[in-house]
Symmetry: C2
């Protein structure tokens, strides 16, 4: 059933199964881990998929251990698929100073074109190609898919959905980096991964992409007002502006007092899963 | 409001507040951290308290980040108080070989009487005395209290409740170490903390205490059948036997396929909080 996947962890959870897999990722030229939660409904029929992209410094386990999402996935019959956030392994270059906002744990869901990053840092292709292919043996209906994520992963979810609306039925994000071409985290990452030509960066900026979108997806974004990264790095007002100008149906909710942590995500993940389930 | 408490962390969560405090613990002669979740109801009136005792290697943060308990605490108007699992700090002795099942992170909720442990390892007194006293400035009604825990913390919850039935209205446990006088983890811990006199160990063994109980509390225990520690370390059959012989009203539920992880706890913590709330 698992094909070239190696099952490296399994726990019963809310009547379903929390799984962890290892596999070889062609796009990234390295071995990767990802997590899958199969709700109990998957025992009798293929279930739709919600992809979750995590933020800076995370791997595939942060969401599965901290969000409390399995409860809602079980209730709605939706599988959760959570990849790692960057290529990994001995041959994969890291930030030369070991910074946490670039390199390992900070792939930004782009296809790097700039050496030395271009050999491995191709998380955009990994999420769109390798990961769905790796799921082939599981009881999933990947034609019914949605995507969500947090912070850097919120940026990834928005960008991947906006560029591939035919692949997803809905998109959501928690505290996304809305415009990486206009914030320090994004400028550092895109400058290194893509090089100095800022025009190339725009294909990874949701505020640019949303203006070009032909097809509209249901889009839900939650942002905590007490998030310490809000004003400098996340900038949801730029996404709201761009959506308004483009006539894109964005629901952006500012949540008073919530910060950037999984306490924020755990509070609203149930509403996000219900939102996606209504479109799946 | 906080008295001698130092507030070291605060996040909004499910409409309430997830707090982390530092304070000086007289019983332990060291500085300690503990976590408090205040549900939204605490903004208008004092709320009852569920104490949570964690297992080996844990600190006060495992439960607050992984159990997903805040959702249910918010729904039922119950506060969650989660202490660390042992004394901490430079002067506190650890297992000489750095073992994970004894010393730091493994206080076993006893008052040690054996040197060098007796100077700091007094987690029984800490949970019963220092911790409730430290809560005095918070909007809590500590006269309405319940207690629960996991593994070593399940042992702690059962022992503390059985010895102090007037202090708690209900008790529950996930995969508790039911009889530390009759399992390797317990024999190592009690032998070191209490010395060689096995008679002294019995006041920290729920299967001994339950036979002596004059007052009965509502008691709920969940145990996963796929728990790798079940047969050798946890031994719930000994608790069931003792409860039956003593006529103590224990509800012990064996949960097929569940393991020892927080995936198990997160699945059933909602039912435990509802159970406690019905007695608070």
């Amino acid at each position: 059933m698992m094909g070239a996947l190696e099952l490296v962890g399994e726990s019963r959870c809310f009547g379903g199964r929390q799984l962890r897999f290892a596999h070889r990722a062609a796009s990234l030229d390295c071995d990767m881990h990802f997590a899958v939660y199969l709700p109990p409904q998957a025992e009798s029929e293929p279930v739709p998929v919600l992809y979750w992209l995590s933020g800076l410094t995370c791997n595939d386990e942060n969401f599965t251990t901290k969000a409390g999402a399995q409860r809602y996935a079980s209730a709605h019959g939706v599988a959760l698929v959570a990849p790692d956030t960057s290529p990994r392994g001995e041959g994969v270059p890291d930030d030369p100073e070991g910074a946490w906002d670039f390199g390992l744990g900070a792939g930004f869901y782009v296809n790097a074109t700039n050496a030395p990053w271009s050999a491995h840092y191709r998380m955009y292709d990994y999420v769109l190609e390798d990961l769905p292919a790796a799921l082939a043996g599981l009881p999933l209906d990947t034609s019914r898919a949605a995507i969500s994520g947090h912070s850097m992963g919120g940026h990834g979810a928005l960008v991947i959905a906006l560029r591939n609306p035919g692949r997803f039925r809905s998109v959501s994000a928690f505290a996304p980096i809305c415009s990486p071409t206009r914030c320090p985290w994004g400028e550092k990452a895109l400058g290194n991964y893509l090089g100095d030509d800022r025009a190339a960066w725009e294909s990874y900026d949701s505020t640019c992409l949303i203006r070009l979108a032909g097809e509209h997806l249901p889009m839900l974004v939650d942002q905590g007002e007490a998030d310490g990264f809000l004003a400098e790095q996340l900038r949801p007002e730029l996404l709201r502006e761009a959506a308004q100008e483009a006539g894109y149906p964005l629901t952006l909710r500012m949540q008073p007092d919530y910060d950037h942590s999984y306490y924020f995500i755990s509070t609203f993940i149930g509403e996000h899963i219900a939102f996606h389930a209504s479109h799946l």
